[in-house]
């Protein structure tokens, strides 16, 4: 039968647009604006899902995004929350967590054997023998879980937005609306968010049978619309609080990361169920759920109902039920004194029977527990939480609403570091100490009356205004009057149990008692043992009762039990919202396009993309690399070294700075010469190396390795903060590009295109000169890293391609100048006997181990790492880098880099750091760390290969080749 009401003022449904959909294979019709649950409830369906553990039938409970037993799937999305997701035309919905449909669920037998499945059962029963656990685990995991994961889920990228506001107000109920308006009137840029489809909160549905206050709400909403500096965002929830007022706002389309200067949390309170036997039957719902059904969706919750209450709110709900045509059979007030407010007589005057000091001892189920047919009402002793069933009566009804109190929706406040205290007057946790810039208003702040909440919102806004340096008006909030909105212990004991505390996980009162008996009597331990609050609703309707129960078990005040902090996100958020786009920023050299067009296979070096080698059709990677290296040895090769760090150091103290920063001498360096620059950290470990060119008396041009360039520049700046020398640094890494031309024909090729005299006796190793190559202003450095004849040519980034082509053209006459990549470069420098920083060294290598003593001047008054080297030098070396090779005609398996060198006694002696096939020598060559006693020419080192087989190599002279 249809439970739909006549047109209701303020309803959210559009009766002109009917929506057809199916649920469990049956066709239904709802209206646009209906949620899945409200459309089904309007059609008279009450069994909308099954519980997680016992597979008990469940219906509407909160209608506030916490009905986690009512999860459905449309075949694509796994766990759709039917209580809040709007129904769409053509939806084909199935209930999750059932085996054979929601009515005939094969697992419903679990409810009848629940006594065999107490909390902790799985931990205990299947713990031993351990070998069998995987077997049980499979069965348990099959039985547990909600929806089935859809592995064909489409990849949906959701947007990530950023927004900045002066003030973020969370919750558009009376307090939040009032706060947002007050702040916006003073000119603040305000964002007001609410998770519901429309703003207003309880302002719009908590009517007590009289909607006169809707005019005030309408006025506030129209003012909100008229203020250009106030943005109202609905269907969006604040998902968490992060430092410095960063709050992700989640809506269907994605996440907006909002940074506000101040935040007002007006998130309201979660209604909490009283705990009695069968309080989970379909038809038993929270008072606020009944009000939402009526006001938002014009759906009658049931035909004849009982209101069990412990506050004045229950009486307001009763009046709404009466106004919607529900027959209210009785009000059961758990408080011995009943309701003191005048509203009690308003209800009594309508002929409703009120039972004070009474409770619902149990709800009486219809067959199959598919609904409720009555309530057993008994006298209730608040002190002992026991019902006296001697004079109990059964009241026939098809629905029960529950109004026992509230728990603050304080997750964001907790996350922000708010101190909370338990208020004994209203039996609720309220903020006691708010962090800077965070304010709370309304129910979450312990303020309940409508007028008080409006005032509290204005008060919070005024506090926020003052915090932001504005003049806020002093607003007073009328002090609390009347009965407590929450009952201190709304629990009714029952020998047969099934009085549920946590509906997510089917946890009843006895489970807490058992947990405490087992010793899990701390809130955090109890949470983990019973799993209370660990279901999809994260304890929103169960944690408060769990705390109350634990407090009573331990005979402690609630304040002493404390609470658990709900972590972000506030609601489960789709992975697509959270997933990033896989953006990895990288840097291309000025020649990137050329490399790509010529078959370069790129490798990542720091932030840069560099050609590892140029792929040639019909050649393997290894062949291509060997051929590139051969070209350098036989003619000339060019490599793009634009990625080198390049730092200009200017100033009267430039040489002094370098002497402190690097290990070598620079004061006596002549203009037009370059020197090796080795950088240590304070513990004497090598961190980088490069070349320092003296361009002028007070101007050095320093290179650093590609991946360390930014860090070297940073450290230069930091150290000079301390030293205060007269120097300036300019990081020109991106401003200049560089090309290295190397090989026996390098000089000839380069000489043809420059006026600079680079003849052997004029331009020695280490020489530096500024010159021009064609039209290009260039700086030429004679280097010896990969070849005896090699020139590094630094030019403005915009001219690198021109230079590259000039070199290729010039080389085409005298034979081939071939480009080579980083792989060949590594091989060539190995042949030349040059260790590579970060490759042949690690985070612990000191220069003595590398044999770099020549680069260090310990007689200088200071350089970074000197004091550590003085200590290290006094101690015996632990390892030393040697060059090694294999016997001619070596046939064994070739080791890999990082294979270990094993000593005669079987100990790890060191490791292989570099290994390549030398095309010049036609044999494998490498570097390895070995024991310092094992470094003489011809000494044998045993290397353990990946397969475990040992191979023998021997120490050889470095450099491996004489040069070109």
């Amino acid at each position: 039968m249809s439970m739909r009401l006549q047109n209701t003022s303020g309803e959210w449904i559009n009766r002109n647009n009917k929506i057809k959909f199916s649920f469990e294979g049956k066709d239904y019709e709802g209206f646009e604006g209906d949620t899945i649950s409200s459309a089904l409830w309007a059609a008279g369906e009450k069994v909308l899902g099954r519980s997680f553990k016992y597979h008990r039938p469940r219906g509407i409970f909160t209608l506030a995004n916490h009905d986690v037993n009512i999860m459905v799937t449309d075949g694509v999305d796994t766990n759709i929350r039917a209580d809040v997701v709007q129904v769409k035309a053509g939806m084909k919905l199935q209930v999750v967590n059932v085996d054979g449909g929601v009515m005939a669920d094969k697992k419903r037998f679990l409810d009848s054997i629940s006594a065999l499945l107490p909390v902790g059962f799985y931990y205990k029963a299947f713990h031993t023998p351990r070998s069998l656990f995987p077997f049980w685990e499979r069965i348990i995991r099959n039985a547990a879980g909600l929806g089935v994961v859809n592995f064909n889920y489409p990849r949906i990228l959701k947007k990530k937005h950023y927004a900045h506001y002066d003030l973020l107000v969370i919750g558009a109920g009376p307090a939040g609306l009032s706060a947002a308006l007050t702040a916006a009137r003073e000119g603040l840029e305000v964002l007001l968010v609410d998770e519901n489809a429309k703003p207003g909160g309880s302002f719009a549905y908590d009517n007590a049978g009289n909607s006169a206050h809707h005019a005030q709400l309408a006025n506030m909403l129209s003012e909100a619309q008229s203020l250009p500096n106030l943005t109202v965002k609905t269907n969006a929830y604040a998902a968490g609080y992060y430092a410095d007022h960063l709050v992700p706002i989640v809506d269907e389309s994605g996440i907006t990361k909002v940074r506000a200067k101040a935040v007002i949390v007006a998130s309201g309170a979660f209604e909490q169920p009283p705990v009695f036997r069968n309080n989970d039957l379909p038809g038993v719902m929270l008072g606020s759920a009944a009000q939402r059904l009526i006001a938002r969706y014009a759906v009658k919750p049931f035909l004849k109902g009982v209101v069990v209450t412990a506050n004045s709110y229950g009486y307001r709900v009763a009046l709404d039920l009466i106004a919607s045509g529900v027959e209210v059979a009785a009000i059961v007030d758990m408080r011995a004194g009943g309701e003191t407010d005048a509203i009690a007589s308003v209800v009594a005057n309508k002929g409703i029977k009120i039972h004070n000091g009474a409770c619902i001892y149990e709800a009486v189920p219809v067959s199959g527990k598919l609904g409720v047919k009555g309530a057993i009402v008994a006298d209730y002793d608040e002190a002992s939480a026991q019902a006296d069933t001697q004079k109990s009566i059964q009241i026939d009804c098809d629905g029960i609403v529950m109004c026992a109190g509230w728990a603050p929706a304080a997750a964001l406040l907790y996350q922000a570091g708010t101190g909370m205290r338990y208020d004994d007057q209203i039996h609720q946790f309220v903020p006691s100490r708010l962090p800077n810039g965070i304010f709370a208003a309304g129910k979450v702040n312990g303020v309940f009356g409508l007028n008080q909440r409006l005032q509290d919102g204005a008060r919070a806004a005024s506090d926020a205004l003052k915090y932001l340096g504005y003049v806020g008006n002093d607003t007073t909030v009328e002090s609390f009057a009347g009965s407590s909105p929450s009952h201190p212990y709304p629990i009714v004991m029952h020998p047969k149990g099934k009085n549920f505390v946590d509906f997510d996980e089917d946890i009843s009162v006895k489970d807490f008692i058992h947990a405490a008996q087992e010793g899990f009597d701390n809130i955090e331990l109890m949470k983990r043992f019973t799993t209370v609050g660990m279901g999809p609703s994260q304890g929103k309707h169960s944690n408060m009762n769990a705390i109350r129960i634990l407090a009573r078990i331990r005979s402690l005040p609630v304040n002493k039990i404390g609470t658990t902090t709900a972590r972000p996100f506030f609601h489960p958020t789709p992975i697509g919202h959270l997933a990033g786009r896989g953006l990895h920023p990288h840097r291309d050299t000025p020649l990137h396009q050329w490399h790509a067009e010529h078959g370069a296979v790129f490798t990542d070096v720091g932030a840069w993309k560099r050609p590892a080698y140029y792929k040639v059709d019909g050649q393997t990677k290894e062949q291509s690399i060997q051929n590139e290296a051969k070209a350098v040895r036989s003619a000339a090769g060019i490599i793009d070294v634009s990625t080198l760090g390049k730092i200009e150091i200017h100033g009267a103290n430039a040489a002094e700075f370098l002497e402190r920063f690097y290990t070598g001498n620079f004061k006596d360096q002549r203009v037009g010469r370059s020197r090796y620059a080795l950088m240590l950290d304070e513990s004497g470990v090598m961190v980088d190396d490069g070349v320092a060119c003296r361009i002028a008396e007070n101007f050095f041009y320093v290179t650093a390795s590609t991946s360390n360039a930014a860090a070297v520049y940073r450290e230069m700046q930091r150290w000079n903060q301390i030293w205060g020398l007269n120097v300036t640094f300019i990081n020109v890494t991106g401003a200049y590009g560089a090309v290295n031309i190397a090989g026996p024909l390098a000089r000839k090729v380069l000489q043809k295109i420059t006026l600079l005299d680079i003849s052997e006796d004029q331009f020695l190793l280490g020489a530096v000169a500024d010159t021009s190559i064609g039209e290009i202003k260039a700086r030429v450095i004679r280097v010896g890293f990969v070849s005896n004849q090699a020139y590094e040519i630094h030019v403005p980034a915009s001219s690198v391609l021109k230079l590259w082509n000039l070199l290729l053209d010039s080389g085409s006459v005298d034979g081939r100048v071939k480009p080579f990549g980083t792989e060949a470069q590594r091989l060539l420098r190995l042949e030349m006997g040059h260790p590579l920083m970060g490759h042949d060294t690690d985070g612990l290598t000191n220069p003595f181990e590398l044999g770099a003593d020549w680069a260090i001047n310990l007689n200088k008054p200071f350089f970074i790492g000197k004091r550590s080297l003085q200590i290290i030098r006094k101690r015996p070396l632990l390892k030393k880098l040697v060059a090694f090779s294999f016997k001619p005609y070596f046939q064994g398996p070739v080791p890999c880099e990082c294979n270990l060198v094993i000593s005669k006694s079987g100990q790890i002696e060191g490791r292989v750091t570099s290994l390549s096939l030398s095309p010049t020598l036609q044999r494998f060559i490498g570097f390895a760390y070995v024991s310092p006693v094992n470094t003489k020419l011809g000494d044998v080192l045993s290397i353990r290969t990946d397969s475990g087989q040992m191979v023998e190599a021997y120490v050889v002279q470095s450099p491996f080749i004489e040069g070109d």
Binding site: Y242, A243, D244, L246, S683, Q717, Q721, I722, R867, I871
Partner: protein, 86 residues
Amino acid sequence: MKLLTCPINGVRPLSEFVFGGELRDMPEAECSDKEWADYVYNRNGAPGLKKEWWYHSPSGTWFVAERDTLTDNVARTYLYEQEAAK
């Protein structure tokens, strides 16, 4: 801490900054080996107010932040040389 105040550029998001470690005084070169090793290898991890190096990367500005590592509150930030000049 998601925002940090650069003494030159004002309040900027943390992603623009690089942490440079605790600001500690280097012992004199004449110190004992033990003192030097202590300086190089040992850090005090106890929570409390620490002076730290921070670097504003886009502008290349090193500065000192006095940060309480327990509460993550930054009491103040300043340029090293400004403080030295005092």
